[in-house]
């Protein structure tokens, strides 16, 4: 590729990214004003985001007002699956776009009364690369990796770890079967992002889920509503 074409692509990308930042900043301000704590989830396809989110919603829904917005290239499978939690769910189909952008979130929220929520979850498209470049206005970003993916993902996909706040190692119930080496995995995370909190969970067996919910609740603070408000 010739240099001037490269330059032009970079210029256009930079403009798009800047526009995304403007929308993301506005979203973040809106969420703060409304008192809704927004958590996004990024991971490879199949790392268990939806299962983890489903179990998180189940554990939160009696005490908090929760909702989720889920992104996929195609299908509404995730939204249908999450609908079993009986919390409000919306799906964003991105078509061929490999990540969520702030504008997609803003537009999908539409008339949703997010000011009535305590937590809003944003499940990104399964992709460990491109979502790194797009701020969604979230307060907390989780990057999930399953034990079946091996221990070196942070080293191979450092950018996404650098944009996330917490690393979640999923499918811990399979750790022995796949001979997952915890020490190596933790070392990988710390070497790309020193001090990053790491949680180990199995949404299937429940391992680590209480610790995650406790960590999340403490970040959110106490619920605004005194009573139990079911969605």
């Amino acid at each position: 590729m010739k240099d001037h074409k490269k330059t032009r692509l970079v210029e256009v990308r930079t403009k798009i990214l800047k526009e995304n930042d403007v929308v993301a900043r506005a979203l973040r301000q809106r969420f703060e004003d409304e008192g809704v704590y927004v958590v996004s989830l990024v991971s490879s396809p199949g790392a268990g985001k939806t299962m983890f989110l489903e179990q998180t919603l189940m554990r939160l829904r009696d005490q908090y007002r929760v909702a989720a917005l889920v992104g996929d290239l195609a299908t509404e499978n995730d939204a249908q699956r999450l609908a079993r939690t009986e919390v409000p769910i919306r799906q964003i189909c991105t078509g061929t776009v490999c990540h969520l952008e702030a504008e997609m979130v803003r537009s999908a929220l539409g008339e949703w009364a997010t000011q009535e929520l305590d937590f809003l979850f944003l499940e990104n498209v399964g992709n460990l690369v491109c979502p790194a470049s797009y701020d969604l206005g979230e307060a907390l970003r989780l990057v999930l990796c399953s034990v079946t993916e091996g221990e070196d993902k942070p080293l191979k996909y450092p950018t996404i770890f650098n944009t996330a706040d917490i690393a979640v190692i999923t499918k811990m119930d399979l750790a022995d079967v796949v001979e997952f080496d915890r020490a190596v995995a933790h070392h990988s995370v710390q070497s790309v992002r020193p001090g990053m909190p790491v949680l180990e969970v199995s949404a299937k067996t429940g391992t680590g889920m209480d610790a995650w919910i406790a960590a999340l609740s403490s970040r959110r603070g106490t619920p605004r509503a005194c009573g139990v408000v079911k969605s």
Copy 2:
């Protein structure tokens, strides 16, 4: 985003993709002229591409002249791991680019005497979305999914399945543990790509590897060299 900006981005993307096609076409012609059969591998991060490739190289290397070019955002872990096979390996570090492009392949090949090879493997960056748009001049594209990713990946990432020739279900040794439903998985593949060949393998236990090598060898035809030529 305003419409005229969208249009401009699409224009630039189209130009880049067209440039990629020009390079890919030239590569394909070169590989055909040289008689080297080029196979690319795409999958999510952690689906087992490197392990599958390692076991493939081990099985081919005594009978064929083989080499591999592996793409990653960062680290040379895969190249180091594959070096154990004692076949020639080169690594492409893409930085923040989420896929391989034909120009990266052309440039990484450099002075490599590919005309002396029977097989060249290209391992893409772990990403089920973006590599779909970039032809690399390969003769055969495999899309790999592990049993741990669930059965619905073809439905959720249809484009990549539509650009690939064979679907490979990896980590079959974990199928029972994760309660993998073969019928559902095969149905998912066939519903996005009717007639697509599907292989089930475990590079760890060797299950399905002989069938894969046989399929590959028959696509390649007989080796050009009469004797055994080790790389």
